[in-house]
Point group: D2
Chain length 359, copies 4
Amino acid sequence: MGGNSFGKALCITTFGESHAPAMGVVIDGLPAGMAVDMDLLNSMLARRRPGQSHLSTARTETDAPQILSGVYDGRTLGSPIAVLLANTDQRSADYDSLQSVLRPSHADHTYMAKYGVRDPRGGGRASARETACRVAAGAFALMLLRNEGVSVNAYVSSVGAVSMKEEPLSVDTKAVEATPVRCPDAEAAALMMALIEEVKAAGDSVGGTIRCVISGCPAGLGEPVFDRLEADLAKAMLSINATKGFEIGSGFAGTTMRGSAHNDPFATEEGRIITTTNNSGGVQGGISNGMDIRFRVAFKPVATIAVPQRTVDVSGQPQVLTAKGRHDPCVVPRAVPIVEAMAALVVADHLLRQRMQGR
Amino acid sequence: MGGNSFGKALCITTFGESHAPAMGVVIDGLPAGMAVDMDLLNSMLARRRPGQSHLSTARTETDAPQILSGVYDGRTLGSPIAVLLANTDQRSADYDSLQSVLRPSHADHTYMAKYGVRDPRGGGRASARETACRVAAGAFALMLLRNEGVSVNAYVSSVGAVSMKEEPLSVDTKAVEATPVRCPDAEAAALMMALIEEVKAAGDSVGGTIRCVISGCPAGLGEPVFDRLEADLAKAMLSINATKGFEIGSGFAGTTMRGSAHNDPFATEEGRIITTTNNSGGVQGGISNGMDIRFRVAFKPVATIAVPQRTVDVSGQPQVLTAKGRHDPCVVPRAVPIVEAMAALVVADHLLRQRMQGR
Amino acid sequence: MGGNSFGKALCITTFGESHAPAMGVVIDGLPAGMAVDMDLLNSMLARRRPGQSHLSTARTETDAPQILSGVYDGRTLGSPIAVLLANTDQRSADYDSLQSVLRPSHADHTYMAKYGVRDPRGGGRASARETACRVAAGAFALMLLRNEGVSVNAYVSSVGAVSMKEEPLSVDTKAVEATPVRCPDAEAAALMMALIEEVKAAGDSVGGTIRCVISGCPAGLGEPVFDRLEADLAKAMLSINATKGFEIGSGFAGTTMRGSAHNDPFATEEGRIITTTNNSGGVQGGISNGMDIRFRVAFKPVATIAVPQRTVDVSGQPQVLTAKGRHDPCVVPRAVPIVEAMAALVVADHLLRQRMQGR
Amino acid sequence: MGGNSFGKALCITTFGESHAPAMGVVIDGLPAGMAVDMDLLNSMLARRRPGQSHLSTARTETDAPQILSGVYDGRTLGSPIAVLLANTDQRSADYDSLQSVLRPSHADHTYMAKYGVRDPRGGGRASARETACRVAAGAFALMLLRNEGVSVNAYVSSVGAVSMKEEPLSVDTKAVEATPVRCPDAEAAALMMALIEEVKAAGDSVGGTIRCVISGCPAGLGEPVFDRLEADLAKAMLSINATKGFEIGSGFAGTTMRGSAHNDPFATEEGRIITTTNNSGGVQGGISNGMDIRFRVAFKPVATIAVPQRTVDVSGQPQVLTAKGRHDPCVVPRAVPIVEAMAALVVADHLLRQRMQGR
């Protein structure tokens, strides 16, 4: 009941503290005989890695994944796949001074309240490094989805107050990866990068949003009551560090619309039933309808900043904290593959569940 | 794997189609010896019931709950509590004409894609009536929470483009229940009601948002990785019919803030560690920090409208649909107790889980 | 976590105390479109029912199942199937005197230790009546299995010291149902019935064993580590009231064999790989091998007897108990359909799980 | 749904093939702040290790456990504990010749039927080496139980036809560990060892039984319906390689008793309610009653033998197999800590679950 597992048909379990020798993930429930694409695994991890550009922390992680089990001769065996990620750049010393001070908007206080003990060497399980394990698992989910014609692509849709002017219907992955900020709109990307540089220079941080689009998903995935596709996606997204919101289809903006404008008319296209608009975001009644699944995730500004902050220590005494660790001024560019990974895990889980219908 | 259960420590399972003799819920995992408050159960159901005001559908449901098991002499036995809700006002005839037409933004199409069959008598499991079962279960969760000093209160924060000017820190439940629209701001409530009347007259529908505030929650609830408190709340909310978004604390607006402004400074109040702002929304690192848990849920305009709509039938032939069923022009006033119920189930689940720490 | 659910892909949840108005079961995860065989459901319940012969208690239950949901027009909808069983013959008075006396080898003492409260009207969840819900659910599992060519048949293999001389390879269901004791060996059946009559006359009870044979099960069902087919069968059987043991294939007797005699040689029959002996009991490495699955279950003598017994009351004071309720002198004849039902639920669960392999 | 996890409150997940670089286990749900006893962990692994005596295979495993996460400064953090066990003595060559031949009573055939692929380097997940991961996890469960005054001790009660004459009420662990066969009865132990030597010399194998006794378990653990303590123990035991049976309390022998002799009379001892006999085996109605929990497990003779055997290859062609690997002639002496580990995991799981009652 420690909540370190995710998924029902395809279930992953992550483990590891950021300053221990290694972290890892166990992936249980992948069918046997699936070809393993190491390039996809490595590129997913590379896109999440810190230090890929001047926009992110200098903390380096090699993230060379070690597959301990479940794969033989390039194919899955049907047994659990364990992937180990060594922690090569552990600088516990950076954190020593933090032992007794409660960092604002970090998990120090809540961990003490929950467990009564805390690993002072870093963020413990709250470390963003834990998400590398999810990305590794998500890469395997993407392999399964690709075989079924499903693609999952995310990009940065806003940084601070800088938003894309218009969001395209489909994702141009080349344009996404063209800049380190991972926004496919070149103009907006330039503004976003400038903003991140400015915030970084000020020792501060800024938030942003990520759009994710799932294409090629067959109609029929998701369960109608609690395990709705959007409910599982929402949980997946809100389980990522620093997320504060989720919306699908028309989202919060849709609350101001009239039903007559919001309803997505059905039509027929090449013998297939489609909708001519997509305010539903690809999900109706909790179940995919065959249109693109479109959702957006809100990330708060990262809590670790160089600006001095007022806080208290564990005994409640006032303190002024000036953090010295290495952290990103803006988390969204590196969070793009994390969002893709978690989305892929949700869709793959429901794809396997739907097989039980025997249809 | 049909996804009709919710919760790990406190697990509920709902069943029933809207046009069958009865629906129900089984609640498993409530501790023994807890006093059962029938008034709370009945008032929760009454607040969700259709036909309570001119703002909602005329469809009447008595919702007199029948407790079949798990309670003896006014106290829980520790065994599963089954609550049956008879469906007294079934008018299948209203739905007969819909059998072959795919209603826009309903689940007709996706159910066919998923199951290959469909109960033509109504919305099947997609019917909003299913949420009555959740409200009944949520009432039991609220009884448990009340014993621990936790309260859960929601209200309507916007209808269409009409929003409250300022959201209060605490909820005035009297003011919430003062008007049928369940907005505690009298001025906004009047505008909201006028808007709903206007939309109703036009045979149309409109969306809205609900704010929920959980007070008195002890620090330490929630698990740090996948089963974060906000992740489970997000899933709970997105599993409610017609929801399109969830945000906690600063939410989407927080994405434009700087970390130095967003971070919640710790301070001490009466020997207890608090934060002086609450952009975190009461949760840090996935775990409650003892402050109020504040989140907001987006509801789309209900899909059933009297305005004629273009669509297709199951064979893909174009059709014009004019719905005749009885439905609410705006769902948010009646969704308030549903949001409270689902929130209560999440917090109660984590409260029981935290007991396993033995602290 | 109250443990009232069973199964992963096909999950059932039972509820109800024996002396409440009704008990029931919710079956979640059955594929849509499956024809519902009411005759099978009714005959399974009839075979479990008390009062079917002079060998069992006079307590009458009609067990007319009411299907509340999940079925329309004779077919499953894919939604949860709720079956209600009314408790028509409740005689709480019989139990009044038992309120404070701890009945030997009943659950009175352990319920108090667990919950601190107890429903004095009967056995609570420990009542054998709970198994009627399992039988109803098992009937649905059998419908699924029958469509896949799998049959599940059990019979009484011993009562007290009276055993069948030789156990046949296949089950003659006609011979099983020929006598109320449900032993297909007419000679042994006569001795068993005489023994039960004798025990009944003495106000005492006696135990016995049930053999179950699952035929037509495809190779490949079961998971290799924890969710082995035999592990799930063992759990299913030991979750039935009054069971004390489980063995599969060679079982306890096999512990005295040499490997060279115990190993089942592979051979080919009509192009299909078979084993020429079946000490494995149809399962190897936790996975079905296509041969008959054969296991045996031990039932203790029922605890309720008319013979006066020494015990204590809840305050620890010595008491002599003379039970007055109506109970079977031997439970195994009526437990045959319960064993079949639980076995069917296990196999159906694994059959659905195996579909996720996509093979 | 791959079935590689076990437990609900305390959940373990194992991974790894026997011939890969390492195997491991993730333990989720252990409370924070618990002292970690490395000596207990190491001694449990040592007792399971092959090559500890002339009675077992010469295959050497060092089993030096590497704790990757969840422990800091000698105490649990509340986060998942990952333990890695390197596979140091991999001789895949021994297995090469087996690639296409189906070894009788092994999982070769069923793995192919299930997955369509197979890791030819060894037993895959069916390898007995997987149980080392369970023993490591069980050691942590034992640490938790010890803090609550619960002990778990097993011993060999029979090898082939050689049984202990009388089974003692309590376990003399010193006597158990006095001989490599782990039978506390010196006379029987000598006969058992002689039998194993004889069988080994013949290139054959033999089965046996293990008795397990859990003492100090508080009354109230276990759930009354499906998750009965004995049901979870039965599943745990039947999930161990080579097991064919489980019985608790009077077990199969109890089926021949009369209820008047089988019922365990209640009495009072030092103000505590006890039973004067223990045919129930410490569990009544699925819930522990405070008496010793006593059960017995049947192990078949190991399938790998040096005697030539008739079988077929994957294409169905007849073959004669003469195995060359290194395997134990009798598995029970080394299975003692595995039985203890799995039993400890079950009881610890229920101990944590019972905390949710808040009693």
